[in-house]
């Protein structure tokens, strides 16, 4: 039988429809792959029993002719989505052990359509980060990290007084182990999602994107990730970071899979006041490959200082690909691009300081006692939050505090309007915008940690569209000279995910990216 973990979701659906394999078989293969991928630290909670139970329900539904659009497909869920009865941590110590009594709308939609949950995947704490290094549950290692399979004698490590005696007579116990020569980040904040999908242990994963948290990790690990228009996916039941920016989206290995899964995830939800009451189009039907006459905007402000020449080169390659498919590149200007990061680092912390006020040691999560209520709050939050989260809460508290609100927060909200207006002007000249996804390939774990601003620069190309609420996708476009994947980003008009996906499909076909990460290639 073919290796079921290497299939795309659309291929797997076809295989199950033809009766070549069942969801239980597909899910078992992925449960084994999840176990084999533990060195990546992609999962915070594995749910194999739940996965197999859901898979047999999916098989039964298929037998009755009631298969949903995602029927029997095993996926991973970012640990920011509340899953009823299953621990949801947001990557934070303060929520460790929290078992939501309710299900997020997005995951409920996926289960309604027959998807299977493999487990909850790692992320930057409260989705604040671009590397997955801020997780309380440790960093995620990218499957693209270089390494080798080595044979080790597992019996040799038992120490102690008697061990010398037993060592003389015991049989060797060889085990195969993956040894990293350099550990790379998968990007963030949806780093566990990205690693699990790239490592072929989940067919897809849910992600969330506040300033680039779906698109940047997708670029780092060579997969597809789409952030839909703000309002497309319900935010209900997703642990809130910055409510005016947070959006859920799928992370998959093909554009067709992204279209399939996005269709399941989105839809109107009265429980989210910003959910948009609008019909969900058939996103897969949009993948016609026909982009003749489409105008592709190339923003001149996205040539940032210090960007590697090969990213510039790949960007030009992308323009050529779309041109040969009949699209017309046009130069556009987004003059306030350079202010997007600064705007984001006022707006997002401000909203985070407000949203995270709920972690008070009273209703859920960690409590650290103090001599009175106030000290209990302060102790709980000091111990429960990590460094980056505390930094952002404090920045947010400061920019919202009396005397500084106008100078920082109001100013940032005004510049945000300017940034959104830039896009409105640009879309008078073009239908979509093509840019690089990230200004670099993946960096090593531990790098950029002592300079928050260097870390923030990862999101320089993704943040502007987040601030304007626009849809954006990252598509793997090739390998850089360091052997690591690079993505190209396509941005669209509000609620025009269909065109974004259509252009992404053309890029995907032209790039023909099919290199396996070393960690997966070694697994065979």
């Amino acid at each position: 039988m073919t290796d079921l973990t290497k299939l795309s979701m659309t291929e797997a659906l076809a295989g199950m429809a033809k009766g070549e394999f069942t969801s239980v078989e597909l899910t078992e293969a992925h449960v084994r792959a999840v176990e084999a991928s533990r060195p990546l630290n992609a999962f915070i909670t594995e749910t194999p029993d739940q996965a197999l139970a859901m898979a047999s329900r999916a098989d039964a539904a298929r037998a009755k002719g009631e298969a949903g659009s995602m029927n029997g497909l095993p996926i991973a869920v970012k640990d920011l989505f509340c899953t009823a009865g299953f621990q949801t941590t947001a990557g934070s110590h303060i929520l460790e052990g929290f078992k939501p009594p309710y299900e997020s709308t997005v995951t409920a939609n996926l289960w309604r359509d027959g998807a299977v949950m493999l487990g909850k995947v790692n992320l930057d704490e409260f989705a604040m980060g671009s590397s997955n290094m801020t997780s309380h549950f440790g960093p995620v290692v990218s499957p693209w990290s270089p390494g080798t399979l080595v044979q080790r004698d597992a019996g040799a490590e038992e120490g102690g007084f008697l061990s010398e005696l037993t060592a003389a007579v015991r049989q060797p116990h060889p085990v195969q182990e993956w040894q990293w020569t350099r550990k790379l980040v998968p990007g963030g904040s949806s780093g566990g999602s990205a690693a699990a999908v790239a490592a072929r242990c989940a067919m897809a994963a849910t992600g969330t994107d506040t300033g680039g948290s779906i698109r940047q990790p997708a670029s780092f690990v060579g997969i597809v990730g789409i952030k839909p228009t703000y309002g497309r996916c319900s935010r209900w039941g997703i642990v809130a970071f910055a409510s005016s920016l947070d959006q859920a989206g799928p992370m998959t290995r093909t554009v067709d899979d992204a279209a399939l899964m996005l269709g399941s995830m989105c839809g109107f939800d009265p429980k989210d006041s910003t959910s948009v009451d609008m019909a969900v189009p058939d996103f897969r039907a949009a993948l016609t490959g026909d982009i003749r006459g489409l105008k592709v905007g190339i923003p001149k402000e996205y040539r940032v200082d210090g960007m590697p020449a090969e990213i510039e080169k790949l960007w030009r390659q992308g323009i050529d690909w779309l041109k040969s498919a009949g699209a017309e590149p046009v130069e556009i200007s987004l003059p306030h691009t350079k202010y997007a990061l600064a705007t984001y680092y006022i707006v997002a912390p401000a909203e985070c300081s407000s949203n995270l006020a709920r972690y008070d040691g009273v209703r859920f999560g960690l409590r650290v006692e103090g001599k009175d209520l106030k000290e209990m709050y302060e102790n709980t939050r000091a111990e429960g939050f990590g460094e980056e989260v505390k930094r952002r809460i404090m920045i947010g508290t400061y920019v919202l505090s009396a005397g500084y609100y106008d100078a920082y927060y109001l100013k940032a909200q005004q510049v945000r309007t300017r940034i959104a207006q830039d896009f409105e002007e640009a879309y008078k000249l073009c239908d979509v915008i093509l840019t690089p996804t990230a200004p670099s390939t993946a960096f090593a774990i531990g790098e950029k940690m002592d300079d928050p601003i260097a870390m923030y620069l990862n999101d320089v190309f993704t943040v502007p569209a987040s601030l304007a609420g626009l849809p954006g996708i990252s598509v793997p476009a090739g390998l850089a000279s360091d052997g690591l994947p690079l993505g190209l980003q396509i941005l669209g008009r509000p609620f025009d995910e269909a065109t974004v996906l259509k252009v992404a499909g053309v890029l995907e076909q032209a790039a023909d990216f099919n290199t396996l990460p070393p960690f997966v290639a070694a697994r065979g």
Binding site: S273, G365, D372, K390, R391
Partner: protein, 95 residues
């Protein structure tokens, strides 16, 4: 903009996060760097520009003022660090 230790202590208090005095100096430096970075927004002319409050220009929906959920006290309390007789328990606040 450069924050001093006293300001850091004030923000930490407002945010209800205990920051030991030994860490205040370091944190003041980090937060000042971020504030210096965002200071560049002063270059942007925003005279007469409406602050953005919502990316999508839509009105908030109204719904009938009716009970749609409830009767789930035990579920609400199920994750609380401490409960008693159907209530959350907090340290004593009234002497």
């Amino acid at each position: 903009m450069s924050l001093d230790k006293a300001t850091v202590a004030k923000i930490a208090h407002l945010a209800r996060i205990k920051v030991p005095e030994a860490d205040q100096e370091h944190l003041a430096g980090e937060l000042s760097n971020i504030l210096n970075f965002v200071e560049q927004l002063n270059e942007v002319d925003t005279v007469g520009v409406q602050p953005m409050t919502s990316v999508a220009p839509h009105k908030l929906r109204r719904r009938p003022d009716a009970v749609t959920d409830g009767g789930v006290r035990d579920a609400v309390l199920s994750n609380a660090p401490e409960t008693a007789e159907g209530f959350f328990v907090v340290p004593k606040v009234v002497e």
